[in-house]
């Protein structure tokens, strides 16, 4: 792949993730409003919010680390952009990916959360530190079941850590979700995704009514805008990653109808996130840890064993 092509994929990945992410954010707010019997924001609301934030003043708190405070949002945005570009390329050319790109994507998907932690600790605010430490515990909680869940499609596709071959395997011999282990793993994956996106009931790091905006409390202007954009893009990247592993993402080579199916599945996942978020209270951090380690991890191990047995 030439350098020019790579840059093209990066820009394409950024644009696709940003546009779909903004749509996802609007969808989330609109459905929330409808659940609460309200009208909700207009369609271009995320765009207005983002442009407004870009134009506002950036205040750097006294006593904080200036460089880290301003660099943290960029780390998050850069990694989610690379993830989107990699996934886009894998979907368009499944045969051309490199071995181990699955592991690269898993690593890059945790960097936005780590950027939140860095930014929170760099802002010299007690509530932000609290949010940062909660985010850290949240990562520790969901990462173990999430990795186990990813093992299931890997085993099904014949122990490959190449995303392209996982997709190609599913195109020829059925989606990973079509089996018992696949169903269990996908459901656990959805719950881990809820935690990865820091949505209620796993929104302890933000906890608007408790520690204000938590990790984001000192952020303003463009820095806050970049953090928000990263959050929105994650609402594209993480569901799409799960779709790729369990449903084989978009099988556009076979028929154009599959693209419509993929869009419908994506909207269904968004609806699931939003409805879970609207019907559950926030869990304490110890409850989150118990939920993921005591309940989800054994289930995920069961799914892995079932996948080994070929179920």
């Amino acid at each position: 792949m030439s350098l020019l092509q790579g840059i093209g994929f990066l820009i394409g990945g950024f644009v696709v993730a940003a546009v779909i992410g903004m749509f996802a954010h609007w969808f989330d707010r609109k459905i929330t409003a409808r659940v609460q019997w309200r009208v909700g924001p207009p369609f271009f609301q995320p765009l207005y919010d983002f442009v407004k934030l870009l134009a506002k003043e950036v205040v750097v708190p006294e006593g904080g680390s200036r460089f880290l405070f301003l660099a943290a949002p960029l780390f998050g945005l850069a990694s989610v952009t690379v993830v989107s570009a990699l996934m886009l390329r894998t979907v368009i050319f499944p045969g051309e990916t490199f071995v181990g790109d699955l592991i690269v994507v898993i690593y890059l998907l945790t960097i936005p959360s780590q950027a939140v932690i860095l930014g929170a600790f760099a802002s010299a605010n007690p509530l932000a530190s609290l949010g940062g430490s909660r985010e850290m515990k949240l990562i520790l909680s969901y990462e173990l079941p999430f990795l186990l869940v990813i093992l299931v499609p890997v085993i099904k596709a014949g122990a490959t850590i190449k995303m392209g071959s996982i997709i190609e395997y599913q195109a020829t011999s059925g989606a990973a979700i079509g089996s018992l282990s696949g169903v269990i793993a996908f459901v656990i994956g959805l719950l881990c995704m809820q935690a990865k996106l820091a949505k209620v009931p796993f929104d302890a790091p933000e906890a608007e009514t408790e520690i204000m905006a938590g990790a984001y409390i000192e952020y303003s202007g463009a820095a806050l805008g970049l953090f928000k954009l990263t959050q929105w893009m994650m609402m594209f990247a993480v569901p799409f990653f799960l779709m790729m592993l369990f449903i084989g993402a978009v099988n556009w080579q076979q028929s154009w109808l599959n693209v419509v199916f993929a869009v419908l599945i994506y909207i269904g996942i968004l609806l699931f996130i939003t409805l879970v978020r609207n019907t559950n209270p926030r869990l304490r951090i110890d409850q989150i840890m118990k939920f993921f380690w005591a309940k989800m991890t054994p289930l995920a191990i069961l799914a892995v064993i079932l996948a080994f047995l070929g179920l």
Binding site: A33, V39, Q45, Y48, D49, V51, A55, E57, V58, I217
Partner: protein, 143 residues
Amino acid sequence: MSLKIKALTKSIWVFHMAASPCNNCDIEILDLLTPRFDIERFGIQLVGSIRHADAVLVTGSINRKVRKRLKRVLAQAAQPCFVIALGNCSCSMEMFGTSYNDNKPLDEITDVHAYIAGCPPKPEAMIQGVVALIQAQLAALKK
């Protein structure tokens, strides 16, 4: 430039500063978020941090103790940020003007961009106040 201003008027994030109010105005502010009024239609949101705010709603009679805290909070806001005096207390001290705790109206402490009178003001009056603020700012920019 015009896109920037349009975005600002379409997405106003409001920080609610309760400067020793009697809680009556605050209850009416929360009414704005309920299904009957639902100001999220206009992109208006309540935020928890002053750093995120585009407008600050100040309620209550501003006495000597709350005054320096109010100044500290307003100084932390990211510009441009507008100050709205909500309720008779912060507009004109209401009946607390002669009180022992040295009250002052909000506009003697900081620049005020909009006044919304009432004890408490109706939610419709608050929406009208915000609309008037937006129109005044747009008119000032056109000149």
